[in-house]
Amino acid sequence: MIEVKDIYYTFPNRVQALKGVSLTISDGEFIAIMGQNGAGKTTLVKQFNGLLKPTKGEVVVDGINTRETSVAKLARNVGFVFQNPDHQLFCESVEEEIAFGLRNFGFEKNLEKKRVDWALNLLDLAQYRKTSPFLLSGGERKRVALASVLAWDPKTVVLDEPTIGQDHQQKEKLRQFIVQLNSQGKTVVVVTHDVEFVAESNPRVVLMTGGKIIADGIAEEILTNEKLVTKASLVPPQISQIFLQLADLGLPTNVIDIYQARDVLSKYMEAKHK
């Protein structure tokens, strides 16, 4: 469990990035932190593994205050996949890259090998085992970064803007993979402003603007509130934009997904014909 208790964070250049944020993330939750660039999303999630420590207030991860432990210990439980994989990758081969974290956490040689193989297969990277990460495409490098984190099996995975630079198909694969991870019990935190990606996955949504949380709830309520999403520099998902225009016909407005739309429409037609 991650407990964020009324935290403030000010960067050394005096920019106040977080202004009183409170949030509790339970084990096994899937949560999307959304908002415009500069809203404080990345600054917030960096508190989860102690990369940043609050200027005021506290962050408690599984009962441990992040001020009272090291990033290395926290990282064992909270794995971070950065927006730009190049900030994360530095080894000569994909295999080495994945093994690096495991060695740091003191996994035995035998287990290390098993975990590397497992992660390579999981993310469909086995054919690149000996390849330099820098020879891979952007999408593939992102998968290497994710594999290297999943290898040590952290309880929580944080992904910062995972969909940027990915085409539609890669995005869909990634989405299915994240949903699968979550269904296997991992806590998943995604930082994103990709509304369609979130609408299709339907996680809990936390909306931020100006260093504060302005809404926290289920996706179909938050993403269909036009005023709220505009404040966070987002737009409602496309399906929602259709239904927001049809509210006067008595159709529900909290529709964000295409299959949900189909159900709502067929019920509406049925009721009408009766």
Binding site: Q36, H168, T230, Q238, I239, Y259
Partner: protein, 282 residues
């Protein structure tokens, strides 16, 4: 006469094993707003590099077939000649902006062309006004938000008054509201100034409603080329994994259920209007 025309265009990069684009024959009419899309690595960026002569004049390799842009044979004209007709806007505006002020950035290319100072001033002002960035003229580009930077990058290309503007995923780094504003700016330049727009884009949702012509590529080839409705509604577009607009997808799913919207929507506004027609009629 089309403003861009290619015939059997095939290009292999130096050291490449197979062609990055293969047998591409397309026509773009003057004033059209075109979306060029397809999976990563399908050849869309390579094709765009042919439009302004980077291929074959900068990238070495083997080019076969013919290509003309704004009446110029690309193979026979140099990059600097083509640059007057074709402007490029890239994914990351930070790579395009480097001067100390917005005004200086927009003036840079004009100074390079040797335009008189008085004329430059007027052009810069005109370009910044057209993208809604005139108020930012004295600011430093690096202080601006991503969306503002991208508008300045567009202004610096617009100042050259190109006939064709090529934009390679100009909104990937922007939040949705910022992206929406960029598409609105591009649509206005297209409508008001009659600039031909080639937009390379994965996010078809936000841009679809402005577009007259869609080209989809896969593995170096053009696989679909036509009107947005027809292209988005084809099975092939779905199979190749292009993210067709949700409005079009909804139309398809409803049709399977025997619920016909009559026309194919490409935007939320379209779909809402068609649904209203059907729902309030029955």
């Amino acid at each position: 006469m089309p403003i861009i025309e290619t015939e059997g265009l095939t290009y292999t990069y130096q050291g490449g094993i197979k062609p990055s684009i293969r047998d591409v024959s397309i026509k773009v009419e003057e004033g059209e707003f075109v979306i060029l899309t397809g999976p990563s690595g399908c050849g869309k960026t390579t094709l765009c590099r042919c439009f302004n002569g980077l291929i074959p004049h900068f990238y070495t390799g083997t080019l076969k077939g013919t290509i003309s842009v704004a009446g110029l044979n690309v193979i026979e004209h140099k990059i600097h000649e083509l640059a007057r007709h074709v402007g490029f806007v890239f994914q990351n505006p930070e790579n395009q902006l480097f001067a100390l002020s917005v005004e200086k950035d927009v003036a840079f290319a004009l100074e390079n062309l040797g335009m008189p100072r008085e004329d430059i001033q007027g052009k810069v002002e005109w370009a910044l006004k057209n993208v809604g960035a005139y108020a930012l003229r004295e600011r430093a580009p690096h202080e601006l938000s991503g969306g503002q930077q991208q508008r300045v990058a567009i202004a610096s290309v617009l100042a050259m008054q190109p006939a064709v503007m090529v934009l390679d995923e100009p909104t990937s780094f922007l939040d949705p509201l910022g992206a929406k504003k960029i598409f609105e700016v591009i649509a206005e330049l297209n409508k008001k100034l009659d600039i031909t727009v080639i937009l390379v884009e994965h996010r078809l949702d936000l841009a679809a409603k402005y577009v007259d012509h869609v080209i989809i590529m896969d593995e170096g080839k053009v696989i679909l080329d036509g009107e947005p409705r027809d292209v988005f509604n084809s099975d092939q577009a779905r199979l190749v994994g292009v993210g067709i607009p949700k409005a079009t997808r909804l139309f398809q799913i409803l049709k399977e259920d025997g619920f016909n919207l009559k026309k194919i929507p490409v935007s939320s506004d379209n779909a809402a209007e068609l649904l209203r027609g059907v729902l309030s009629h029955d």
